[in-house]
Symmetry: C2
Subunit: 187 residues, 2 copies
């Protein structure tokens, strides 16, 4: 069974490698607009659209994995920041507070589909301006939901999490593995 | 200020690199025996002994960082496994349950010292035998407290955590950064 990751995120590919499977990366070309619905539905729907789009332009026996991640603070969705000023504002808003990270994951294969979402609560420490500036100038926020990566210098923003760490990085690998294992697609 | 990491753990060095500082690695040569005391004290004391031992055989203005990590299940300490059979037993004991990971961190510099410890609760999913066997045979458990690494295939063992992820990997980087920042040793 050919496994395809429908994501251009280097973090997702790095995480998927941990379970020791071979896979190809074919990023989806969909317009990443959020549908209506609760946050879990929003990310699951987008993950499904990504997986389906890639499934439809590939061939043979295959399973396509799509994923989408958002950060939610006080009921407001933080996607990827538009520029440095936006990134700075995101981080200042998140400073000292708890937010939620939702990742939706969808699997589409020749005879079926399956999706789920996972939520992790992340508590940030108070971020000194010096740290925010250094981080924003590094450029790291620009391709990341909420404007931070928990796997780079952004690691020090986080006081504690409740839930799955890899969900915050963009792919809840435990549940992804569990699904592949149950289907007999991991060994 | 020269920063020295008194640990041979490649995970700790990898984590410390995230905050963008230059440091040298000089592993301590102490005998890693646990003192009496509660779990926080046990790891802090060992971290202090590691940092002091390296401090005493180095020179110039320097700060030495020592760390020690243990896994505790039902009040019992799990250090590094002695062989494959031990590793298998560790993982089977941890399967489906919550355990605690304690890391103690100590800083020793020319005019002072400081230490703290951090606790993270880790909940494992039920581990199928097939997964345990594959993991044990990979050799990964052998140099790790509790017999697993949350950053390799061991990532899928974990259903959720409560606390600091990097603490489970062996170095609670947020608090390490916070200390260095407050002392003016990070910029």
């Amino acid at each position: 069974m050919r496994i395809i990751l429908a994501s251009s995120s280097p973090r997702r590919a790095e995480i998927l490698k941990k379970i020791g499977i071979d896979f190809d990366v074919i990023p989806s070309r969909i317009n990443e607009e959020f549908d209506e619905g609760d946050f879990g539905e929003v990310v699951e729907n987008l993950a499904k659209r990504k997986a389906k789009e890639v499934f439809e332009r590939t061939f043979d026996e295959r399973i396509v994995i799509g994923a989408d991640t958002i950060v939610v603070l006080n009921g407001e969705i933080f996607g990827k920041p538009n520029g440095f000023e936006d990134a700075r504002n995101f981080l200042k808003a998140l400073s000292g507070k708890s937010h939620e990270v939702y990742t939706g994951v969808a699997f589409v294969w020749n005879s079926g589909e399956y999706s789920f979402h996972e939520k992790t609560v992340v508590k940030f420490r108070e971020l000194p301006d010096e740290l925010v500036e250094k981080y924003v100038r590094s450029g790291s926020p620009m391709d990341k939901a909420g404007g931070y990566g928990i796997q780079d210098l952004g690691a020090v923003f986080v006081e504690k999490i409740e839930g799955d760490f890899y969900n915050v990085m963009g792919l809840p690998i435990g549940k992804v593995w569990e699904f592949l294992f149950k289907k007999g697609w991991w060994r």
